[in-house]
Symmetry: C2
DNA sequence: TGTCATGGTTACATTTTCGTTACTACTTAT
DNA sequence: ATAAGTAGTAACGAAAATGTAACCATGACA
């Protein structure tokens, strides 16, 4: 058995999807923007564990993928508002289905646990 | 605006889902196992760019997450067969929806390109 | 007796992703 | 004159993920 050498030019569409909306922070960004348009600072407050550098990077990436829209107001101090595009809004039901699936698995595995209630509260909010 | 310090015990269910089925290789593993149960060596042939070390790691992880089943035959040379569990099979329609969504975005962006046909062929197969 | 095949494992190196800290430009309020 | 607030950026470093190359145990087969 020798190596297959037919390189796929772009990754498979599912891998592609993970590039668009996966990673450590993009799900949170989508989550908070889906509820409400947000300014940079507020987004950083809502997702405090991300560094501002990485938040900027992720937002720029999502902007160039046309998943979010960046609206800059010509004011001072500067104001920038981020919102989801239609493309991004279309994927939300799919993400919710994914969340429900993983939540079901999680519940099956962890029958007891002190953190369980907190997790469930958080998930109810999310799902 | 100070830092929010309420740590979430486990990540949000969507982030959790990405741990289960995301990453560089798990989508491919799911894809090939969904078509047909596979032995370790065949899987490595089908996904030639993964190293055997990482393939082992990913398979072990998915096994402990109960997404795949590992069946070892007592033969020589050894034979091991991997298959998807019911849990994993449940997520496939969701993954397909995700793939269609990202494929649609991809098509909108790339109107021309030489690789396009190859990509589409690959995707048709995938979707 | 020694080579082959399978399904790995181990130690180490590299790449990719993410974080820390300090800094900037602009304008209004004190 | 200077401090404060917003939305960043730049240089550097740490951590996480992945890759490379060599090795192992088993039994069949020549």
């Amino acid at each position: 058995m020798t190596k297959k050498k037919t390189k796929i030019p772009n990754a498979c569409p599912i891998v592609n999807a993970f590039h668009l909306i996966g990673g450590k922070w993009k799900p949170y960004i989508i989550y908070y923007l889906q509820k409400k348009n947000q300014r940079f600072g507020k987004l950083h407050f809502l997702i405090p564990d991300i560094s501002r550098k990485v938040l900027t990077e992720q937002l720029r990436e999502m902007e160039s993928d046309e998943l979010i829209h960046r609206k800059k107001f010509d004011e001072s101090p500067p104001r920038v508002e981020y919102s989801l595009t239609e493309k991004a809004k279309e994927v939300i039901p799919i993400l919710e289905a994914l969340g429900e699936w993983s939540f079901k698995i999680h519940k099956e595995k962890m029958t007891e646990s002190l953190d369980e209630e907190i997790y469930i509260d958080y998930c109810q909010d999310y799902l």
